[in-house]
Amino acid sequence: MWEIWVQQLFNGLSAGMAYALVALGLTLIFGVLHVINFAHGEFYLMGGLGLVLIVQATGIPYPVAVLGAVIVAAAVSWIVDRVVVRDVVDRPGGFSTVLLATYAVSLLVSQAVFFTWGSAPQRVDGIPGILEVGGVTITYQRLVVVFAGMAVLVVLDLVLRRSALGRETRAVAQDAFAARVVGIDVRRVRTVTFVISGAIAGLAGALLTPISLFSPHMGEAVLIKAFVVVVIGGMGNVGGAVVAGVSLGLLEAILGRFIAPGFALALIYSLLVAVLLVRPNGLLSPSR
């Protein structure tokens, strides 16, 4: 019986890492730009779509195609930043404007995908092969998701804590006006943050497509879970998003051993409500 536990915990870990990757970008944008990016699900979608198009058009191997997909997602997020975020964020009422504008962008992008690609789901094979240890069966693709997720986190943490860009980013997150006063190019920092967030979401999309199948709807479903993770982890709390994301994945896997998946989902949303009531800054943020 223990083999099933190991396998389920591993499934949960890979699913949780995916949630964490998507939530990471969302919480970064909130932490640094102090806005909610409703188009974030579409960056995830662009990662998947980029992967599908590149593989179909060129047939290059999966790891290279993933890189291409990340570039596609980063490019799309750069455009979104340029058009509806960069010049709007500092205006009075900028928060609400960006919220609505990014929501509009999400509709635009998903409808554009339906209009051009259509509604067909698509299979893309990632890293092939299955690892069988005892009675435990793990696909290499899921292993890649877990390790890639950890790699992204380590790199991001190093950048934020050790590099000049990281220092500037933390300064802008703390107080954009003061950052400007000490000579930081706030606009550039914000754009870089936005693009990096989009790129990470795109990476998640490209890594998850071999597991979940590409679907033009994939942006919608992931965004809801990402919001749950961000709120539970604390909005703007990068470490919190990761812990909350992975915990959510593991919790779903564990609960799935005892109760129907529908109930597990209801329990998780109840947890969200509970967190909002008791610790509205998130479980893992200092309560103010």
């Binding site: 019986m1 509604s119 789901p121 299979r123 597991i211 979940s212 679907s215 479903a221």
Partner: protein
């Protein structure tokens, strides 16, 4: 003065008579609602249009009237479905509404159709309640779960000889209804459903569910539903988690080319039952398949055939009745047997279509009769 009055009266009468004279060449509108943003929904509307095109090519119906199709997206949601139906009836003036993929949507539209007195032909929904409303202008084309059960349960019990079944399916009316039917047919046989895994319609990662199915020691996997991107992924994920059942069986009517495309080699040997195969050898089916394939690049399957039939049967009935009067058309539909791509179809008193059923399977990457 009296001549001027008379003149005005005659002019008014002439103007009022104009629409009546123009009527003979007017198009007859058939309205359709489908979840056009999903793959199957879009393909269904394409098939309906194919029927309209073929009918119009043949010269139209009831003295040359052309068939005009009006399509709206019902988003697989009852709210959007009712709005679409109202729009068709009130704004577009249609007297014949067909379509829907989801039983929930069809059940929501039914009272609207009944109140407006239009002919209502749900093409794909399977829920038994649809034919229980006692509406004489309702015609349901797809088989019900109860009708499929006989053949389907036969596949589980006799062909697959399943003893322990893992049931992984969408959390909808359909998914639950099918489970009840399977359980009932297994009573007293010693076989049982050992795992029930319901997933919600937004789910895309089935690793957890299939791992539980593997843990249950099941020898058969039963899956299916309306969203092929999900149940095809269930089949693929089963292989990935190391769950290797002796047989994989899909809900009746859900085995189509998309399953092969999305699940790949892991779908080899998958069985199901169905009321239509593109390989059926009749002149009408050949004509339908050829027309659809030449325009859309793929063979039509059951959802396409049923939706084609919705337009085709209405047109044939309007033609036979000689008018688009809803009462006459409904009576004509009830009173006759009809030639369709899937074979002969007739309707029972409740409006349920009755036709034959086949056992199908994926062999060497293609679907054929088993």
């Amino acid at each position: 003065m009296i001549f001027r009055r008379l003149g005005k009266l005659m002019a008014a009468a002439a103007i009022l008579a104009l629409p009546l004279t123009a009527h003979a060449a007017d198009a007859i509108r058939i309205g359709i609602t489908m979840p056009t943003q999903t793959l199957l929904g879009k393909q269904a509307v394409q098939a309906a249009q194919t029927a309209a095109d073929l009918i119009n090519q043949d010269g139209g119906v009831a003295g040359g009237s052309q068939i005009e199709l009006v399509a709206y997206d019902d988003e697989n949601s009852p709210v959007a479905g009712v709005a679409a139906a109202q729009r068709l009836i009130d704004q577009d003036g249609v007297k014949f509404v067909i379509g829907q993929m989801s039983s929930t949507v069809a059940l929501a539209i039914l009272p609207v159709a009944q109140a407006a007195g239009v002919v209502f032909v749900p093409t794909v929904p399977k829920h038994t309640d649809i034919t229980k409303a006692g509406y004489d202008k309702l015609f349901r084309l797809n088989s019900t779960v109860a009708m499929d059960s006989a053949v389907f349960n036969g596949i589980i019990k006799d062909t697959a000889k399943a003893k322990k079944i893992a049931y992984v399916i969408e959390n909808t009316d359909f998914g639950r209804l099918l489970l009840d039917s399977i359980k009932k047919s297994l009573e007293g046989t010693g076989a049982a459903v050992v795992y029930e895994g319901f997933y919600d319609l937004q789910q895309s990662d089935f690793g957890n569910l299939l791992t539980e199915a593997k843990a249950s020691g099941a020898d058969t996997l039963v899956t299916g539903g309306a969203t092929v991107e999900q149940y095809a992924n269930v089949i693929r994920s089963a292989a990935e988690v190391g769950f290797k059942p002796d047989n994989i069986i899909i809900s009746p009517g859900s085995l189509n080319a998309n399953v092969i495309k999305l699940a790949g080699a892991s779908a080899e040997g998958t069985m199901s039952s169905d009321i239509y195969l593109p390989s059926i050898d009749t002149p009408l089916n050949k004509r339908f398949v050829e027309a659809y394939e030449s325009k859309y690049g793929m063979k039509p399957e059951k959802t396409e055939e049923l939706t084609f039939e919705g337009v085709w049967l209405l047109a044939r009935a309007i033609d036979k009745a000689g008018s688009d009067d809803v009462a006459k058309v409904a009576q004509t539909l009830h009173a006759n047997a009809w030639e369709t791509p899937r074979g002969e179809v007739r309707f029972d008193d409740a409006g349920q279509a009755i036709s034959q059923s086949f056992v199908v399977a994926i062999k060497d990457g293609a679907i054929g009769r088993r």
